[in-house]
Symmetry: C2
Subunit: 142 residues, 2 copies
């Protein structure tokens, strides 16, 4: 079955863009709970029907495409610290990986049409957004 | 900035494939903690260096591409239940969404070369795998 992998082609759709005071990838925190910035996500107008049940105060998972990531890298020094031994990227949250998809759990602070204001997003301004998903509650509440 | 969205093109790399007793999408559970099945993930041989620090017993997040999802759908009846009002897909975990990326938090049960055995994965057999990430511990442990 694995032999068919190279014949699979899937193209992402960018559904929104991060607008943030964070503009310098070198200065961005590794994770949003480490001094991430409040940021806006500008969603494409065509995705308004997909957003219509989002609620201020809700926690959601924002998926981004970390487009500065190096897709050829398979092992990194964790957190860019050269004194730490190199680790396989599947054991790290490094943006350098075959598919640089970022996961960001954030709180929605405000909603203005197709724009979402969220707390503590570590992605830099201009980062493409791929998806927004609810954080799962207990089984009975889904 | 949003005007440039339609000019962005990103292609995914399939890094592995799910091998599972679950073969029927209609019978698959909505989430892995609702009777998901133990499953194998067969990773491409070229990704062995990225896997080398994965450990049996560890919890990881597996990202999949839910290739049966309908990418044109923006609102769905939650959990496919027609008695529940339609919701925007960004408020659901439906596989029908612009980018049908699945998030699965699982425990690694065994590692055999480039094959990972994991507990409670709800994706059906043949589902492409995009990434494996560690579940983040407390800030000091990263």
């Amino acid at each position: 079955m694995l032999e068919t992998v190279n014949e699979m082609h899937y193209e992402l759709r960018v559904v929104g863009i991060v607008e943030s005071p964070l503009v310098d990838v070198a200065a961005a925190p590794a994770q949003g709970d480490e001094d991430g910035s409040d940021a806006w996500i500008a969603m494409g107008a065509q995705y308004l029907p997909a957003m219509r049940d989002l609620v201020v105060g809700e926690r959601v998972i924002v998926l981004t495409w970390l487009d500065r990531g190096d897709r050829e890298v398979l092992a990194v020094h964790p957190r860019g610290d050269p004194t730490r031994p190199r680790q396989g990227v599947f054991s790290t949250r490094s943006p350098d990986r075959p598919n640089p998809i970022g996961l960001h759990e954030v709180e929605i602070l405000a909603i203005d049409g197709t724009r979402l204001h969220v707390r503590n997003l570590e992605a830099i301004s201009g980062t493409p957004v791929l998806d927004v998903k609810p954080v799962l509650g207990p089984i009975g509440s889904r």
